[in-house]
């Protein structure tokens, strides 16, 4: 008697899982298939599910509509800000994990509050300042501003990582006469590489996705891919295939990174509140 009931429950659970997965994935399926449609096919009403795919949209956006250049801008900005965040953030994380000093709690609290500051608060003053300094529409302005979220992520995740390294290692090295910097550089940092990798991936994803700073600070030469994608909506004739091709090009790298770091993405989004 019990077995069929259990089996039915298992089926129900399986179907529920399938529904959840489909709900999450369907928009991506639609995005990719639309990107392979010509404008004529994309404007069929009702929409068609089977058609002859074409890569023409990708060709056009990459080479005629400067999406290629904006993707390169996005890569430059995301890679540079991530590198900078790791270079500045790992020593700070080490200090928070290992040293005792006054005001440590306050420093933590200050790092946490960065998660709550909306870019819209900082965007206008930075717009004015960067205009004065001649930094408007440069990669540098975006690289620096993205530190407001990449640096805290690196510090959080790496502090956790450094704490998990046994202190005995440090102490042994200290007895050998190694300097703190050398212990950090040669012993702890290599052991903390998993944390560095995870926080780098998360920094990359968040910088890659950012729109508001990019939209306000980099209108032309340094325009990033998300800011480029939204310009397609401004004409009268909305090119569906091209918009979805651009979207696919933007989203594919972050999805790959997100899957690689899937276990840690939530940790990054909650700034360590959830392990």
């Amino acid at each position: 008697m019990a077995a069929p009931v259990q089996r039915r429950a298992l089926w129900a659970e399986g179907l529920l899982l399938l529904a959840i997965a489909l709900f999450c994935i369907f928009p991506f399926y639609w995005m990719v298939t639309t990107s392979l449609k010509t404008q004529v096919v994309a404007l069929e009403s009702p929409p068609v599910w089977t058609f002859t795919p074409t890569l023409a949209n990708y060709w056009e956006v990459l080479f005629e509509d400067k999406v290629g250049a904006s993707l390169i801008n996005s890569i430059i900005v995301a890679v540079c800000t991530t590198t900078l965040a790791v270079v500045l953030g790992t020593p700070a994380a080490y200090a928070l994990a290992r040293f005792e000093f006054r005001g440590k709690q306050d420093l933590w609290f200050w790092f946490i509050t960065n998660r709550f500051v909306s870019p819209v608060v900082l965007a206008f003053p930075v717009f004015l300042i960067s205009r004065e300094l001649g930094l408007r529409d440069t990669h540098l302005a975006l690289i620096l501003m993205y530190l407001t979220f990449t640096l805290p992520i690196v510090i959080w995740i790496c502090t956790d990582q450094f704490r998990s390294i046994p202190r005995e290692l440090d102490e042994a090295a200290l007895l050998e006469g190694a300097s703190q910097w050398r212990i950090f550089r040669s012993i702890c940092l290599p052991l903390a590489m998993p944390g560095v990798a995870v926080s780098s991936i998360l920094s990359f994803i968040f910088s890659w996705n950012e729109l508001l700073f990019a939209y306000i600070l980099a209108p032309k030469a340094a325009k990033t891919a998300p800011a480029m994608a939204i310009t397609f909506m401004e004409g009268y004739d909305v090119p569906y295939g091209k918009i979805m091709a651009t979207s696919t090009l933007i989203v594919i790298p972050v999805l790959i990174f997100a899957l690689i770091a899937s276990k840690h993405l939530v940790r990054g989004l909650t700034m360590g509140a959830v392990k």
Binding site: P27, L96, F99, F101, R115, P152, Y215, V238, L269
Partner: protein, 292 residues
């Protein structure tokens, strides 16, 4: 225990990061506070002058500002409870033993929405919700519902933002709550399931206490992110039609970037920031006292 570390060493390790964050985080914030005390419009910079708290007085009595705040609160009050309810359901299903392989796949697919570029979510919404060419209306047609003008109608556009917010953030809530469920000691959970068949009782009296920290984290972060919400509605509707989806961050962007009134936009932004921090502290005080 801790090695005696000289002040100089600490400064050498922490200094660069702190200096960088002061430069990009604090300095612009102070500059925003300074500008918020000015009557400062980009198109009329010559007429810029110090006006004390005039901008704040204007913002606090401005119905447009409070309407945008109200819209943001409405979005939060509708979508976050749904996200928590659905997220809890998903987390409970994923937490049950069995079907491990399918559960891993489902978990991986849950990661995708929250990593998706928010601007792209807005674009996807435009394409999928179109009245004539959109696949969502086609699907509604299969169950006999007439095509809905999602983007062009004020109420429907608001509903569309809610739907996409739920799509993008329910997985996040689910995974946070799942992490919370895994903090329940297995032996307690097993003992409870032997005592009662009611999943509800187990949830209420055994699992819920362990979920409180996750729920607080969800509330705080969803509050902060809803107040920040810009990319998705901006891309989908530019705040329209009319001002139906002009949430607080979209309003501030419009005042500063499209009306060039940076003094006013700064005052709005500072008030928004104050509200964010106030709410975050309120949650922490209110909920953590419940636990302890």
């Amino acid at each position: 225990m801790t090695a005696h570390v000289r002040r100089k060493t600490i400064i050498a390790f922490l200094g660069p990061a702190v200096a960088a964050l002061v430069l990009v985080g604090i300095a612009p914030l102070l500059y925003a506070v300074w500008k918020s005390l000015h009557n400062f419009n980009l198109t009329k910079q010559a007429q810029s002058r110090f006006v004390w708290f005039d901008n704040y007085a204007t913002v606090l009595t401005d119905p447009v500002f409070w309407q945008a705040m109200g819209r943001t609160a409405t979005l939060f009050l509708i979508s976050v409870p749904i996200q928590i309810a659905l997220g809890l359901l998903i987390a409970i299903v994923l937490h049950r033993p069995g079907l491990t392989f399918f559960k891993t796949l489902t978990r991986l697919s849950l990661v995708l929405p929250m990593a998706t570029t928010y601007a792209v979510v807005g674009l996807l919404a435009q394409v999928m919700l179109n009245q004539k060419y959109g696949v969502v209306n086609q699907m509604l047609g299969w169950i006999g519902i007439d095509p809905i003008n999602f983007i062009g109608d004020p109420t429907n556009a608001f509903i569309a933002v809610i739907i996409w917010d739920i799509w993008q953030w329910t997985p996040f809530v689910a995974l946070v709550l799942l992490a919370g469920l895994s903090t329940v000691p297995p032996e307690i959970e097993e003992a409870a399931t032997l005592e009662t068949k009611s999943q509800w009782l187990v949830l209420r009296y055994v699992q819920l206490p362990f979920l409180i920290p996750s729920l607080v984290a969800v509330l705080i972060l969803r509050t902060a992110d809803t107040l920040k919400l810009f990319d998705m509605p901006f891309t989908m509707t530019r705040g329209g039609p009319g001002s139906a989806t002009e949430f607080i961050a979209v309003l501030i962007e419009r005042v500063g970037n499209r009306q060039f009134d940076i003094g006013m936009a700064s005052a709005q932004a500072i008030i928004m920031l104050a509200i964010t921090i106030f709410l975050a502290r309120l949650y922490i005080r209110f909920f953590y006292r419940e636990v302890n």
